[in-house]
């Protein structure tokens, strides 16, 4: 339990650094650390496969692309447009509403009984695969179609229209 609180503290700490860092590249580096703490959370939950997939896909691929884009964009304070007052007020109101919602949700939140896993091997690849391809086959296949359509959309956006360029 103490390990959990320590890792949870690190997650929140790095997450705050992500939004408070002045340099966008530093932000991304803190985000990488945040995702690393998530990986540790998954291991603590005995979900080895999720942990390693989070590690490979988020830390190893998606954030590399984030970093790649930010390095190319060369963002700094001078190039950032000052926000108008309307946007600032809207942000404050939006944040306040969110805070109220969270406080209201937490007020009725009772302590739940600790969940004891019946099968400690539940998170292993073999069991996860069996569950995914037996009980949840349809949602799994539908989500893969969703990903495919996203990919096709991205390719379509990236290719120049031959009629306009010619």
């Amino acid at each position: 339990m103490n390990t959990f609180y320590f890792i949870a503290f690190l997650s929140v700490f790095f997450a705050i650094l992500v939004i408070s860092a002045k340099n966008p590249v530093h932000s991304i580096l803190y985000l990488i650390l945040t995702f690393f703490t998530f990986t540790v959370h998954y291991i603590l939950l005995n979900a080895q496969f999720l942990a390693i997939v989070n590690f490979i896909v988020y830390m190893g691929a998606i954030l590399v692309l984030f970093l790649y884009t930010l390095m190319l964009m060369n963002l700094n304070k001078e190039s950032e447009q000052p926000k108008s007052n309307l946007i600032k007020i809207a942000a404050v109101i939006g944040g306040g509403c969110f805070l109220v919602t969270i406080v209201a949700a937490l007020r009725t939140f009772g302590h739940s009984e600790p969940v004891i896993l019946k099968d400690p091997n539940l998170g292993l690849v073999k069991n996860l695969g069996k569950t995914l391809f037996n009980e949840y086959l349809l949602p799994f296949e539908i989500s893969s179609v969703l990903l495919l359509s996203a990919m096709v959309g991205a390719v379509l956006l990236a290719t120049k229209d031959p009629k306009t360029t010619a």
Partner: protein
């Protein structure tokens, strides 16, 4: 876990770490000797007999050179870059099974640091993390050549990780496990059930794809575009000097060693060797197995060097074409063929 087990693991980690460093050191010597041989030169021959102390001299030189941190670099990240590169290179060795169990007295010693059941995925995680060292170092140098090298490294790694993953999926269909120990066990001996037991003979196309991707992931020639000196001065390590440069170069050789070990384990039987069942002493089998694994690893390291001094460097668009338009379709075809073979023939 008893105290004795922890001490044994600790010693094992230290031994593997030391071996990685020594092999990386002598890979630099071997590379220069082989390059000299391929180009009809003599190579390093001044430090010690046949130049055998050359790596020590190089190391001493690296440590004693002036340490330069450019004024406009971001100081902390400039140091993090090479540190991360060498760290990710070293942690990959944790899941590789180096040999069968040794029995000393009552102790059974696993010649593997950690037999986790997602071993292959762990290797993948480490590989995908490896690019951060290059990217952070290249960006922190605040030099456009370094930045270009870093960006090339990132896109190259991402592109080749995909085909590497797909080539591994076909192998996993055959083996049915993600644990490197079990994959090595399945390739016992050399001949089983009327066919070679090593995975190379079951997945020749998969191995070809894997080795091409391994060259790209370790930034070795012909895919060493992140440090392409004809276009980018020194690539991502242009601004580095002293031991920080040494760490980058060293990380490349350790990566080469680890990826050779992974290839030997996944496709060439790991610590298994032909006629191993004829030897009855288990400890002797284990020791010969370790020697056999290292022989395979040395062959792959030699192969890395052989290719480097034979094939010229790719152009960047050729690299991307090969990755996306050739390797990925081939890998997908390989998965389909393997799937059909398992369904209809192996049953």
């Amino acid at each position: 876990m008893a105290l004795a087990d922890i001490i044994i693991k600790f010693i094992l980690v230290i031994i593997i770490f030391a071996i990685s460093l020594v092999i990386a050191m002598y890979s630099t010597y071997a590379e220069r000797k082989f390059a000299a041989f391929f180009q009809d030169r003599i190579g390093p021959n001044r430090a010690g007999p046949w130049g055998i102390l050359q790596p020590l001299a190089d190391g001493g030189k690296m440590f004693l050179k002036e340490e330069i941190i450019p004024t406009n670099s971001s100081g902390f990240l400039f140091i993090v870059g090479p540190s991360l590169a060498i760290m990710t290179a070293c942690i990959g060795s944790a899941v590789i099974p180096w040999g069968q169990q040794l029995v000393i007295g009552t102790h059974v010693i696993d010649l593997q640091v950690a037999d986790i059941n997602v071993g292959i995925l762990y290797i993948f995680g480490v590989v995908s993390l490896g690019v951060y060292g290059i990217m952070i170092g290249g960006w922190a140098s605040n030099n456009k050549y370094s930045l270009l090298g870093a960006i090339r490294a990132a896109s190259q790694n991402i592109s080749y990780e995909i085909s590497m993953g797909l080539s591994i999926i076909a192998l996993l269909l055959v083996t049915g496990t993600l644990s490197l120990r079990q994959i090595a066990e399945q390739q016992h001996g050399f001949w089983a059930n009327g066919w070679f037991s090593w995975n190379f003979f079951k997945q020749p196309l998969g191995f070809l794809l894997f080795i091409v991707c391994a060259f790209a992931e370790t930034n070795r020639s012909p895919f060493d575009l992140p440090e392409c000196e004809t276009e980018l001065v020194g690539g991502y390590h242009t601004e580095y000097s002293s031991m920080k440069l040494g760490f980058y170069l060293f990380a490349e050789y350790i990566n080469m060693f680890i990826s050779s070990a992974v290839m030997a384990t996944l496709y060439f039987g790991g610590y298994n060797f032909p006629f191993m069942d004829l030897i009855h002493s288990p400890n002797l089998v284990a020791i010969i197995g370790v020697v056999a694994l290292f022989a395979k690893i040395f062959f792959f390291i030699f192969f890395f060097m052989w290719v480097r001094w034979t094939i010229p460097r790719f152009r960047y668009d050729q690299l991307m074409d090969l990755g996306w338009k050739t390797l990925i379709p081939l890998a997908i075809a390989n998965i389909i063929i393997t799937g059909l073979w398992i369904t209809f023939i192996r049953g």
